[in-house]
Structures are given as structure tokens and as C-alpha cells.
């Protein structure tokens, strides 16, 4: 069984994410302890809420530094929703700096008829990668901010009216899903299983 550490920085979704990972056969540890995170071999960053609040919590607890350490060790890391957004350089939401593990800026979605982008939408693969192997799929989204589809780390995209956002991203061992795999039924489990089997390369 694959072991994975879910980073607990006080954001939501930790419980449902753990349950989903367990359904995929993972052994899950939830930790708010930087030393545990820094020495883990597989990490997930859940997310709900605002990017600024999440970054504040990650910085204040020392978890931000632990995540950077883990990334330097090429540990597979998957951020979900706001957990994806904080991996980037910057977020327009709360105008905050992110972890800078992925390059680009998180912006309010432009071109959608209604926001938040709430509900099930298509995830279309752009390039061949372990994490996009089961795509296309329909998954559940709940957000108003996103990275645009033209960033270099975009592996899959999602269209919302006149907007196209990056819905799966990865560079090296650092990856993210803008949708919620823990709430996306079988499509979500497929991504989690791919992540659990991923060695951190393309």
C-alpha cells in the first residue's frame, strides 16, 4: 500500500480527501507537523477557502518551508483546489505570494457567465503524462480563481463559457488539480490512483 501524508494547515476537505485516498488503497497520515511533512515521501495539500488564508497558515506553521524541502527532494506532491493555487508564484486573491514551486499567477476567472465555477465540467488532456492518462473526464469544481491554460505546467484544461483554465498542472514532482478528486466519484479516484503510483516524473 502506498503511504501518503495529507498536510493539515487548518483548511477544509482534509477528512473527505483522506477517505477518498483510503478508498484508493492508500495508507494516510494527516499531519500539521513540519518535520513529518519534510520527511514524507508522498504529499497532498488539500484546499478550501481563500489563498491568502492558506498561505498565512502555511507560513505561520513552518509547513511552507517543509513543503519546499520536500519538493527539493523530488517528492511527489499533489495540491487540490486552493492547494493547487498556493503552489504558484502569486495569487490575485488576497494579493499574496505563493510557494513558487510552479510558475505563474492565479487570477480571477474572466469570461465565465456565472462565478464561482461550481459543478461538474470536462477536463481535457493537453499532453501525455501519468496524471492525465485517464482523461478526458468530468470532475467537480468549486472556485472563482484559477491559473490560465497558457501556463507551461498545464497538463489538462477546462472550458467555462469564454474562459479556459488549467485544471491539471505539473512540473517535475509538483502537481495540482483545480477540481476536487475527493468529490468527483470514479473520475476523482482515477486521478488519485495515478498520483499514488506516480514517481514524480512525467
Amino acid at each position: 500500500m502506498t503511504a501518503v501524508t495529507v498536510v493539515d494547515y487548518g483548511g477544509g476537505n482534509v477528512r473527505s480527501l483522506c477517505a477518498a485516498l483510503e478508498r484508493c488503497g492508500a495508507t494516510v497520515t494527516v499531519s500539521a507537523e513540519p518535520s513529518v511533512v519534510a520527511s514524507s515521501n508522498r504529499l497532498m495539500l488539500a484546499g478550501q477557502g481563500a489563498a491568502g488564508t492558506a498561505m498565512q497558515a502555511l507560513n505561520a506553521t513552518g509547513l511552507a518551508e517543509a513543503l519546499l524541502d520536500a519538493a527539493r527532494r523530488h517528492v511527489p506532491l499533489l495540491g487540490v483546489c486552493v492547494g493547487l493555487q498556493v503552489l504558484f508564484d502569486h495569487s490575485e486573491e488576497d494579493d499574496c505570494a505563493g510557494l513558487g514551486l510552479l510558475h505563474g499567477s492565479v487570477r480571477r476567472i474572466e469570461g465565465a457567465d456565472r462565478l464561482p465555477h461550481l459543478g461538474w465540467n470536462d477536463v481535457e488532456p493537453l499532453s501525455e503524462h501519468t496524471l492525465t492518462h485517464d482523461l478526458p473526464a468530468i470532475t467537480y469544481f468549486a472556485h472563482s480563481y484559477a491559473v490560465t491554460a497558457d501556463i507551461p505546467s498545464a497538463l489538462a484544461v477546462t472550458r467555462i463559457d469564454r474562459a479556459t483554465i488549467a485544471s491539471v498542472v505539473a512540473h517535475g514532482s509538483v502537481a495540482g488539480a483545480q477540481f476536487h478528486p475527493e468529490r468527483s466519484s470514479e473520475a476523482g479516484r482515477q486521478l488519485l490512483r495515478r498520483f499514488l503510483a506516480w514517481d514524480g516524473d512525467a
Binding site: R15, A19, Q48, V82, P116, L118, G119, I160, R189
Partner: protein, 249 residues
């Protein structure tokens, strides 16, 4: 393309799913977690859990049940009913709810919406509005329809969104539980007034009622009776919607 959502609603009282007609005459319809799992398997795009028991003891029991449901289902879960302050929202999100709906407490103190949205993000704050016909307009009523507020429902919808609501769950009290179809005129007006997703609720008697309100442009349709009574499955409703070219999962 973003799909329209079908949301079975579980009205939960004393740990059981109940369903009333026009918010009275409750009937027992089984265990909520079982019902949630059954609907999720049928293809429900989301589930709404509406707590209709008041009191602290009931609240603790609710959190336990939501935690159980939240870890066992694999579609989003919205929980509401009796949410009166920000700690309630935090409790429910912590227990495993994906979104929390606030109704009367937001009418009593609209700032609550802003506090919750700032702390947890608009995407998980649903403002539920119970609208009752009043002349040519609708009034937002509180406490399950027992309390009038004198507030115009469409104006209240606009204010709720300005204050940070990420979604509106609007129930037409005149048709709720009656199975006479959704009040289309109300949703038409709301769609023109706000730019967040709208969930229509109250009055569905058939798959075509649901297709009617979705065709109007609402993002989701919520229904209880037609699913609880086993008259129609979620998948049947979706098939009807697909035939009418609505984008469904």
C-alpha cells in the same frame, strides 16, 4: 462544458429523512446516510442535507452524521438548517460538508454572510432564500416560513451576493412539497438579478418539471419528494434533461 446539476435534498429530523408538504405534515423516509449513498449511486451531482431539528444536542448529532456521510459519499455535500453563526459554518465544513447554506440567520444579520465568505471563501457559502408570493413579487420569509420579513426576495438575493454568497438556493414556498412544478417566473427574475449560480427548489413532480427550470438557465435543480417516494430516479431525470439538450453529467 459546465453541467447542470440534479440535487436530491434530504430533510433530516431526529436523524431520519422526512418530507413535508408546504413545510408541515412530516413523513419518515429512512436513514439519511443510506439515502445519500443511494442517490450518489444513482448519479446525483450533489446532495443537500437540510437539518430541521433545533437545539445543541441535535447539533452534535448532526455533526456526527455529516462526518459519517461526508467520508462515505464521493459527490459534494451541502449542509444547512439551523446555521446561525460562523462557528456553525466552521463546524460543518470541518465535519466534511463542502458547502454550508445559511437562511434565517443571514436575514437577521446579513454581515454573517461576509464573515463566512471572507473566512471560508464564497464558493462554500450558499444563501438559502425561502420566497413567498406577495402580489406581483416575492417576499423572503424566515424560520421555515413562520416569520415574515417584509424584504423583497429578489432584492435580498442581490444583497446576499454583494455580501459574498457564492450560490443561492431559492425555494418557492408556494410550490414546495406540492409537486405543481417550479415557479419559473421567480427564477427568471433571479437569473437577471445576480451572477452567481442559482439552485431552484420546490415543486418538482416530474422529470420534465426539472428540465423546465434548468432550461430557464438555473445551474441546478433540487428536489426531494419525487426521489424519496421512488417515483423517479436521478438517472431518469437526467435522461429527460439530456433529451432536451441540457448538458448533464
Amino acid at each position: 462544458m459546465l453541467r447542470r446539476r440534479i440535487i436530491p435534498c434530504l430533510d433530516v429530523s431526529g436523524g431520519r429523512v422526512v418530507k413535508g408538504v408546504e413545510f408541515v405534515n412530516l413523513r419518515d423516509c429512512g436513514e439519511p446516510v443510506d439515502a445519500a449513498l443511494r442517490y450518489a449511486e444513482q448519479g446525483a451531482d450533489e446532495l443537500c442535507w437540510l437539518n430541521i431539528t433545533a437545539g445543541d444536542e441535535a447539533w452534535d448529532e448532526l455533526l456526527t452524521q455529516v462526518a459519517d456521510a461526508g467520508t462515505r459519499i464521493d459527490v459534494p455535500l451541502t449542509v444547512g438548517g439551523g446555521v446561525s453563526d460562523e462557528p456553525h459554518v466552521r463546524d460543518l465544513l470541518g465535519a466534511g460538508a463542502d458547502k454550508v447554506s445559511i437562511n434565517s440567520a443571514a436575514l437577521d444579520r446579513p454581515l454573517l454572510i461576509t464573515e463566512c465568505a471572507e473566512r471560508h471563501g464564497s464558493q462554500c457559502i450558499v444563501v438559502a432564500i425561502d420566497a413567498r408570493r406577495s402580489g406581483d413579487d416575492w417576499e423572503a420569509v424566515a424560520s421555515g416560513g413562520r416569520r415574515t420579513t417584509g424584504r423583497d426576495a429578489v432584492e435580498w438575493a442581490r444583497e446576499a451576493v454583494e455580501r459574498g454568497a457564492g450560490e443561492l438556493l431559492v425555494t418557492s414556498m408556494d410550490s414546495d412539497g406540492t409537486q405543481r412544478g417550479y415557479t419559473l417566473e421567480l427564477y427568471d427574475r433571479l437569473l437577471g438579478a445576480v451572477d452567481v449560480p442559482i439552485i431552484a427548489s420546490g415543486g418538482a413532480s416530474s422529470p420534465s418539471d426539472i428540465a423546465d427550470v434548468l432550461e430557464l438557465g438555473v445551474s441546478a435543480a433540487l428536489a426531494a419528494s419525487i426521489f424519496h417516494d421512488g417515483i423517479h430516479t436521478v438517472e431518469e431525470v437526467k435522461q429527460t434533461c439530456r433529451k432536451r439538450n441540457l448538458p448533464m453529467r
